[in-house]
Amino acid sequence: MKKNIQMPKLSEQMESGVLASWNKEVGEVVEKGEVLFEIEMDKVVSEVESMESGVLEAVFFEEGDEIKADEIIAVINCD
């Protein structure tokens, strides 16, 4: 099963965030709880843990991109 990964809304006021880095490459295995990507926030950089285990199948944004909250940024193949 494929799962869409969304840009999390890290605070109530957050409308968008800057993707600081991908910590996994496309094709790489990712375990639930591992850091998948980092977001630059006003106060800090947040390391976002994966909610799924699987293979990172696709990413739709690059580092430095500003992304709206809830936008789909990647797909993980959980099969």
């Binding site: 006021q13 006003d42 106060k43 800090v44 950089v45 390391e47």
Partner: protein
Amino acid sequence: MKKKPEWLKVSYNKAAVEEVNRLMAKLKLNTVCKEANCPNLGECYKKKTATFMILGRTCTRNCRFCNVTSGAVEPVDPKEPQHLAEAVKELDLNHVVITSVTRDDLKDGGAGHFADTIRAVRELNPGVSIEVLIPDLQGVQRDLDRIIAANPDVINHNVETVRELYSVVRPEADYDRSMAVLEYVKKQAPHIKTKTGIMVGLGETDEQVYQVMDDSLKVGCDIFTIGQYLQPSPQHLEVKAYVIPEKFAQYKKIGEAKGFHYVASSPLVRSSYRAEEALKEGKNNDLY
């Protein structure tokens, strides 16, 4: 936006954050973690701990560093003390930190509500240590007495910054009044631990930081916290410097040598961050 140094990285687990958020919504409670957009929210919520914020989500003051909304305030929820006590039970906390917005509009500044909350938490959760992080209550001793009478384990009141930066950072507060609050609590109830803290990175000098330590010790303060100021939004005060971790370690060493029972000092320290450890660490050192 200044580039964040490596040490300002925090973890975020969506499921843990959503779980605590759900509980707070169910019990109609607020957390300062969420309202202040605290960088430690992910870590604390994952450990199922939070700092409750009573008396609404809106503050009557407008400090330049703070992310809490200011403006027209909400009516006080009389069920809040009971709901908060239930949340402490549900989260199975050993130590609870309760803070509030500043309510200069209320006759007692919210002191009675604080006292009711302390009592409700204690009644439902005997054995839980209670820490309150209070506003200055305009220095009114009668109001402070109401909180002291409820007998929390720790009374924390933050001076927030050095005296020299008050006009910029806390224009509606008064450094001496905050020190007087700490002094009064200690005099009235020496067994209650007192605690204060500051943010650094706002342009203060080392000498000014050490002066706050000296002033706090002079009024009998037991626990001191120091953390990096982080700008909540472009509309807030700018970060003047990202203080390096080694400097925080130096502040801790000097603060404890000066006489504090415990100093928590590192970039992501907030006054309620790992508050239970601050209380226990002192105890383990036979200081309490």
